[in-house]
Amino acid sequence: MFKLMGAVVLVAAGGAAGMLVARDYARRPVEIRSLISAVQMLETEIIYAATPLGEALERVACASDGIVAGFFREASRSLNSGDGATAGEAWEKALAGFYRHSSLTAGDSAILKNLGRALGRSGRTDQEKHLKLACEQLKREMASAEEAASKNTRMWNYLGFCGALAAVIILY
């Protein structure tokens, strides 16, 4: 009886672990796509409407969803708090929180970090270059994230259960 219960727990745990890894693979392209869309909105606000950065970030937050909205809202709140933080500092602080709860890789985070260092520090032409560069880099990351997701999501979903089942069989 105990053996059976142990086997069930092992299979459930293995399956859940596999599903968690698979979920990260599946979520990453979705988050990057959402980020690309947000950066493009930010570009419109900055380049065409010359909206002050704090307000632009808030508007992007309102038009985005999920944790990307939270990231832009936090950056806007931190920038507008009046505690003397620059745009780069506000962005980096918000990014740290966002990164912890996202499925992004360190490479994705580095793209956003570089963008944050340039945000609001130059004229429109220069800002456009930085925003377009970030978009292009994110698009490249999305292509690789989609490829990785198609390869790995199903594999990890099965691998968790199958690995756990194999362990149960070996242990029996």
């Binding site: 900055i46 380049i47 010359a50 909206t51 002050p52 950065l53 704090g54 632009a56 920038l79 009046g82 003397g84 620059t86 745009a87 506000a90 945000l119 609001g120 520090r121 130059s122 004229g123 429109r124 220069d126 800002q127």
Partner: protein, 332 residues
């Protein structure tokens, strides 16, 4: 220190209220230093100068002083707080709300107006395009110029410029060298003309104010931060010549006021206004009438013989002292 930064800390000293507007744009280290400066010095403060890798300086009515980290005046610049490049960049980030791109035109002109109507001058490396300034980069200096209203500063000259029979004012030119209070006096004159002065027989007039450099009304996001009167319409950041014509066509003013007339274009627009039955009051840089007459554009204005009253300002312990009022008819 935090308490000193709050609005409540200056309730008993309204003349120091500007610190509540200035503090949010100061980098954190300097934000702690300025409120610690002796309040008598703060009361005479005209400018806060941040120059990268040089001492923190305060511009007073009597000249510059250097300040150390504790907010005390020091005679030796070596002992003063050394402003870093980061301080300058951070200050500019705070002044612009980290939105340099939204203030390109202001940066091209070399200054940004902040809430309270205070002006922040900027220096750095200019980027040229077709020989004209496109923008600035590598910011190296910031000068925060404190804008102060001196209510009543135009009072001594108003009886001389009012045409009580016509119930309006005479065409008036206010002139002086820089830093003698032309803008302060013009602002107060606009306020009084707009509100009306019953004891001098002047009913309130609709005043159109062209504030090209945001100095007179100190507009922030288009809203005047200074009291420029109940009947004043402000065109903020608008070139003078275009602004005067726009106001004339659109707002039906009785009086048009503007600052720092000097170019041919300004004088031509002024001539149009003068011929439209609208009264004008404006300022000009210059220390004497002879000096003004030597400038081609102003010489033309003199020859038109339309300016009825010339007011000369000077600086005698304080700015805005009326040195002389001349009848314009004698110079035509």
């Amino acid at each position: 220190m935090a308490a000193a930064l709050s609005g409540r800390a200056y309730q008993h000293r309204p003349e120091l209220g500007f610190i509540n507007n200035i503090s949010p744009v100061l980098p954190f280290k300097i934000r702690k230093i300025v409120p610690a400066v002796n309040s008598d010095i703060l009361g005479r403060l005209e400018e806060i100068r941040l120059r990268a890798l040089r001492p923190l300086a305060l511009g007073l009515d009597t000249g510059d002083v250097f300040i150390n980290e504790a907010g005390a005046v020091v005679a030796d610049p070596e002992k003063a707080y050394l402003v870093s490049q980061e301080d300058v960049e951070r200050c500019l980030g705070l002044v612009s709300g980290s939105s340099i791109y939204a203030l390109e035109e202001e940066i091209k002109n070399g200054f940004i107006t902040i809430p309270g109507g205070h002006r922040v001058g900027i220096t750095g490396k200019t980027v040229l395009e077709s020989g004209r300034v496109k923008t600035l980069k590598y910011f190296s200096g910031v000068n925060i110029r404190i804008s102060r209203e001196v209510i009543g500063s135009a009072r001594p000259l108003l009886p001389k410029i009012i045409d009580s029979e016509g119930g309006t004012i005479r065409h008036t030119m206010i002139f002086s060298p820089p830093r003698c209070g032309k803008t302060t006096v013009l602002r107060d004159a606009v306020r009084m003309i707009s509100d009306g002065i019953p004891e001098l027989g002047l009913p309130g007039q609709a005043v159109g104010l062209v504030d090209e450099r945001s100095e007179i009304a100190g507009c922030y996001c288009g809203i005047p931060q200074r009291d420029v009167g109940l009947r004043t319409d402000v065109l903020d950041g608008c070139p003078k010549a275009e602004g005067m014509t726009m106001l004339l066509r659109s707002m039906g003013p009785s009086v048009i006021a503007t600052d720092e007339i000097g170019g041919q274009e300004d004088v031509r627009a002024l001539e149009e206004v003068l011929n439209a039955g609208v009264r004008v009051i404006f300022t000009v840089h210059g220390s004497s009438l002879e000096e003004l007459a030597a400038r081609p554009a102003l010489n033309y204005l003199f020859r038109l013989g339309v300016v009825e009253c010339f007011v000369q300002l000077g600086r005698d312990k304080r700015a805005g002292v009326v040195k002389g009022i001349f009848d314009g008819r004698k110079f035509s």
